[in-house]
């Protein structure tokens, strides 16, 4: 194993360009889990991002929120303006691991890792986040909603570094994030669902329900249509158009679909007239 420790973005992207197989590491809350057992990783080259001071911190720009790639969950929790403008970021951050994870885990790492269970990604996607990818070739900005193409596969090419995440400063009406885990704290989601009512209509994003974090367009269409929804069960088929949850160590596909339907039904009935 070897570690490269750049101090500037230029150095970092140069390294990734020269060694695209190298693995960027920031908070380590995914890569370091069970580290002593992950012998295959011990053969790799890592690019330590922790010294890239330019990627630290968050700022407001033209009403948008721009999070440098080293922004942690805890950084976001300390920012009161985020709590007002993008409350689901707070709600999700509080439920990611516990403080020891929140102080280390980064939003960009969550995006880059591409886990289908990532709570942070679901709310970022609901808020239509844009992912800034930097390489020696230049800067690409990709909508997070189009970022994933398969299980842990994304549009990021190996020479690209996620350098920022930008959330457009849109006003939202209803904003809901529900996480269902096996316990009240420090749980990996069995089901996550972020729902916001944007000026253009409902946006619903689900995590742990498919190989990728998934925008649920069929569900959104139903919500936007104003057609009556009589029961949670009436949503099952719609949900299954959007996601395909599986049985795994943490839950069952059946539970996931049924509970997602029940969350949508019970949470939205007070917000949408169509619910009976």
């Amino acid at each position: 194993m070897s570690v490269l420790r750049p101090t500037t973005i230029d150095e970092a992207v140069a390294v990734l360009s020269a060694q695209p197989e190298a693995i960027p590491i920031a908070g380590g809350t995914d890569l370091m889990v069970h580290w002593p057992h992950r012998l295959e990783l011990h053969e790799k080259t890592f690019v330590d991002l922790s010294r890239l001071t330019a990627l630290r911190g968050l700022r407001w720009q033209d009403g948008d929120l721009v999070m440098g790639a080293l922004t942690t969950y805890w950084d976001v929790l300390l920012d009161e303006q985020i709590g007002r403008r993008f409350p689901l970021l707070h709600r999700a951050a509080r439920q990611v691991g516990a403080v020891q994870i929140q102080t280390r885990g980064t939003w960009a790492g969550n995006v880059g890792n591409g886990s289908p269970a990532a709570d942070g990604v679901a709310v970022l996607m609901a808020y239509d986040a844009m992912v800034e990818l930097t390489s020696v070739r230049g800067v690409d900005v990709v909508p997070l909603r189009d970022f994933y193409t398969g299980y842990k596969i994304s549009h990021r090419t190996p020479d690209q570094l996620i350098t920022a995440i930008r959330l457009p400063g849109i006003p939202y009406r209803t904003q809901i994030f529900e996480k269902v885990g096996a316990r009240k704290a420090q749980a990996i989601s069995k089901i996550g669902v972020a729902m916001v009512e944007a000026p253009g209509g409902w946006v619903v994003v689900a995590n742990s329900m498919a190989p990728t974090i998934r925008r649920c367009r069929a569900v959104e269409a139903v919500l936007n249509s104003g057609h009556p929804i009589s029961s949670p069960e009436a949503l099952h088929d719609t949900i299954l158009q959007d996601v395909h949850p599986i049985d795994d160590l943490r839950s069952t596909g059946e539970y996931r679909v049924r509970v997602m339907a029940r969350l949508l039904y019970h949470d939205l009935r007070e917000h949408i007239a169509a619910f009976s």
Binding site: M32, W35, S50, A185
Partner: protein, 158 residues
């Protein structure tokens, strides 16, 4: 082909003193503390960032040292359980916060962080702030009540 393992030289502020060490890049901060730095007060409970027994303060924030690559401690401030004076433990001792003791140093470090930032305890429930420290003995009441008592004491003496 295995790339050659290159050792990493690090310097950081550990419990108020500067230390310089050379370690393998595979070493976690936890390995460094318990091994060459001989600070076994920090415990390994799971190695997966779940139990919090290895909690230390890194640049003033609680982290699981099993998830911190050693090279990221370079230039940082690290505080371990060994840094705390005995008087600091009075409330937790009296309130029954420790039983078997394996989770205890981690519990004490998270509690210490909360005590240094008492506003946190007003913004978040203590049970949420402590949720990263699994304890199998106390049922948490002894921990949470002791921490409440410590915060009240701190307020009185502040």
């Amino acid at each position: 082909m295995t790339p050659p393992t290159s050792d990493v030289a690090l310097g950081f502020l550990l419990n108020g003193s500067s230390v310089s060490v050379t370690c393998a890049p595979e070493d976690r901060l936890l390995d460094l503390l318990r091994g060459p730095l001989r600070l076994p007060g920090t415990k390994e409970g799971c190695g997966e960032g779940e139990c919090g027994a290895c909690t230390v303060l890194l640049n003033g924030l609680p982290v699981n040292s099993c998830l911190v690559p050693s090279y990221q401690a370079d230039g940082a401030t690290v505080e371990t359980i060994e840094a705390l004076a005995d008087e600091r433990h009075a409330a937790l001792l009296e309130g029954g916060a420790t039983q078997c003791g394996a989770c205890t140093p981690g519990v004490a470090m998270t509690a210490e962080w909360i005590r240094r930032h008492p506003a946190l305890g007003k913004r978040f429930p203590l049970s949420e702030l402590m949720a990263g420290n699994l304890c199998r003995c106390t049922g948490y009441d002894g921990i949470l009540k002791s921490l409440e008592a410590a915060l009240t004491d701190d307020e009185g003496t502040a």
